[in-house]
């Protein structure tokens, strides 16, 4: 009963909002959030649809633990067909928006069609209406959120919106909620923009929209879970103090920090842009970049970074609107905006990150695309005349200017907004795009960490680190230590991580809990919250079912085994220096075994027996 059992369907073409009951059988089969919305999407759209066409749908969805007392129980996801990849896209966000949607009495909102003019959806508990957004179009997510709250005279309205990047068709546009939390990857904001949907604003005050099935057992399970998080060195101390950014020096020391568009696997400027550097006083003004940590709804970890820039930094010197506290760089963003391009100016990275939040675009894809452009420039394929500036490796000025241009679709920013794959194809060097299925790599070299290489190649939404985080065993020793260069055992471990991650992403909680929690900590919370029998075995089966359903969507969309690969640089160009010197990714050794443990054919298609076992 942790579901509200209500779905809001919004037809943007007709301008209508209607209520329908949640498909309870699907909730039992797919749990919620990522899994449940994927089931709805696969059942309602042609997988071959143009992602930016009217026929695509966009689903905002919560999980059964969203809006409960469960630690980190504030997550929501946006599920659609992604424009960057042409594959399934599921992008997950924290903040407070997800819980508010649940408080208003909705498990999910399905957007279909396309509005003739800009609109936003306002949900006040059970009432939903589409309102004119012409006064918001052409403005940032920050302006949109502030304006909607003022307009409706309620500062507690939660807003998820697109900025100018989503309006102008940046292929990796994000949906931003609560100013600096984002459904950041795979271009879900571009789909939202294609539908002329500027924002979803929600205020929830219902106290009886849902309740957990067994309150006493739920309190016990939640308390136990929180005690585990508090006692764990990572979730109790490490993440709140240093955030994800502490990884910068670790991955660099390990020799798996891709730099200069993956030409190198270590970055000489890593220490200047890492988590420790955010704590240090700047020589320019004597103040640190980091002000404090921040938490999402119900989170007892609080890994978020809140930063304040040096007001005299060249990027913001005459821009007081950026002198206040705002969302600072997390590890993946700092890597993409920094190491991927050779930029070691933490303040410039912070400013670019502010812009990514303000106008809604993914800093990973943006930074990695700038890295590809810098390599094209280095090779003489791109020129200063064409780009409009000197695009030399390590240029903070170039990074800042491209961030400003991309945010509004100006100048060469239009090209950067297409993403690395389309950029490199346009200039005749597709092999220089560091992408899988069209989505840019995050911050780990798939040559230095073999399991991550396999994870990137097989991720259903394109290159991604949070679909089966093999960094945990390969670097951090969680739950067991695996040798980074080993290939043995990696396919089976990856499958287990992918299936477990699908469960976590479908429950309404944050993946970071799994640095401390195992399934044995999560299962009692789901069991107590949801009606029915939710054993660990059943949950893993649900996770595997979700993974296979996403795979079937991608196969239907036209993707195949040929897309489960890596750029030639990772397969044939050995790492030149450092601890992983000489390494390439041995995908050829791991992929056939991965297909086998998945119960797929040698062509990567789920066998009839697998489909039957998973009730697909």
């Amino acid at each position: 009963m942790a579901w509200t059992k209500k779905v809001l369907r919004v037809n943007l073409t007709a301008g209508t909002c209607s209520t329908e009951p949640l498909n309870q059988q699907w909730a039992q089969d797919y749990l919620g959030q990522r899994g449940l919305a994927t089931k709805y999407l696969c059942s309602e759209i042609d997988p071959k649809v143009d992602p930016l066409a009217e026929g695509n749908k966009l689903i905002f969805v919560t999980g059964p633990l969203t809006g409960t007392m469960a630690a980190t129980g504030g997550r929501y996801s946006v599920v659609t067909k992604g424009p960057l990849t042409g594959a399934i896209a599921c992008s997950n966000s924290g903040g407070y928006f997800g819980a508010e949607l649940k408080f208003a009495g909705w498990d999910m909102v399905i957007f279909e069609g396309r509005s003739a003019k800009p609109v936003y959806l306002l949900i006040i508990d059970g009432k939903a209406e589409l309102l004119d957004a012409s006064h918001l179009w052409g403005t940032t997510t920050w302006h949109t959120e502030e304006t909607i709250k003022k307009q409706h005279q309620d500062p507690q309205i939660r807003v998820a919106s697109i900025g100018r990047a989503g309006e102008s068709g940046v292929m990796y546009a994000a949906i931003v909620n609560d100013l600096h939390r984002a459904a950041g990857r795979s271009g879900v904001g571009a789909v939202m923009g294609s539908k002329n949907l500027k924002a979803v604003a929600v205020r929830g005050t219902l106290t009886d929209a849902y309740q957990v099935a067994n309150p006493e057992a739920f309190f016990t399970a939640v308390d136990a879970g929180k005690a585990v998080l508090a006692a764990n060195g990572v979730t109790g101390v490490g993440l709140p103090t240093y955030g994800t950014q502490v990884l910068m020096n670790i991955i660099n020391e390990l020799g798996a920090l891709p730099s200069y568009n993956h030409r190198e696997a270590q970055f000489e400027g890593a220490n200047a842009i890492g988590g420790e550097a955010m704590h240090e006083k700047r020589p320019t003004d004597g103040k640190p970049n980091l002000i404090k940590n921040g938490a999402c709804f119900g989170c007892t970890i609080a890994c978020g970074r809140i930063s304040r820039m040096d007001p005299n930094h060249f990027s913001v010197k005459d821009k007081p609107q950026y002198h206040g506290a705002s969302g600072g760089v997390e590890y993946e963003a700092a890597w993409a905006l920094g190491a991927a391009n050779g930029v070691s100016d933490l303040e410039a990275l912070t400013y670019a990150n502010f812009l990514c939040n303000e106008d809604g675009y993914d800093p990973i894809s943006f930074g990695a695309t700038v890295g590809a452009a810098m390599e094209l420039y280095d090779l003489g394929i791109l020129t200063e005349a064409e780009v409009g500036l000197k695009l030399t490796w390590g240029s903070a000025e170039a990074l800042v200017k491209l961030a400003e241009w991309t945010a509004v679709g100006e100048g060469f920013g239009k090209i950067i907004g297409l993403g690395s794959k389309r950029l490199c194809a346009k200039y005749g060097r597709p092999e220089l795009s560091m992408t899988v299925k069209g989505q840019e790599f995050p911050a780990y070299d798939g040559r230095g960490l073999q399991g991550m290489g396999l994870e990137y190649a097989t991720s259903n939404r394109g290159a991604c680190h949070v679909r089966g985080y093999m960094v945990s065993p390969e670097v951090l020793g969680i739950p067991v230590k695996m040798e980074p260069q080993a290939t043995e055992g990696k396919p089976a471990m990856l499958k287990a991580f992918q299936d477990l991650t699908a469960v976590v992403d479908s429950a309404g909680i944050c993946l970071f809990t799994t640095f401390a929690w195992g399934l044995q900590d999560i299962q009692p919370q789901i069991q107590a919250a949801c009606e029915g029998d939710w054993s660990e075995e059943r949950l893993l089966l649900v996770g595997e079912r979700i993974w296979n359903l996403e795979r079937e969507f991608n196969l239907g969309a036209g993707l195949s085994k040929k897309d489960d690969t890596l750029p030639p640089r990772l397969l044939t160009e050995a790492i030149k220096t450092g601890p992983q010197k000489g390494a390439v990714c041995h995908l050829d050794k791991m992929l056939p075994e991965y297909y086998e443990v998945r119960g797929w054919t040698a062509e990567g298609v789920p066998t009839p027996a697998t489909r039957t076992r998973l009730s697909l």
Partner: protein, 84 residues
Amino acid sequence: MKITLKLFASLSLRLPAEARSSHCLELEVDPGTTVLDVILRMGLQSAECAIVLVDGVWVATGDRATKVLEAGQALAIWPPVAGG
């Protein structure tokens, strides 16, 4: 012989003030010095050293007492941390 000790995150506070920003300290150690010897010399508890790398290669907890350092090697240590 000399080795380089690198302490990160909260462990960097155990370094002399002038070394905290770089996280690096050059140490003079005797031949035969093990990873555990350095950990103890710096006043660290073995349990708070969650990630231990020698020249980028993981040293398991059970190997710290027997892993002998060689001249010029870099020993890098972190407390329990993670990211993503």
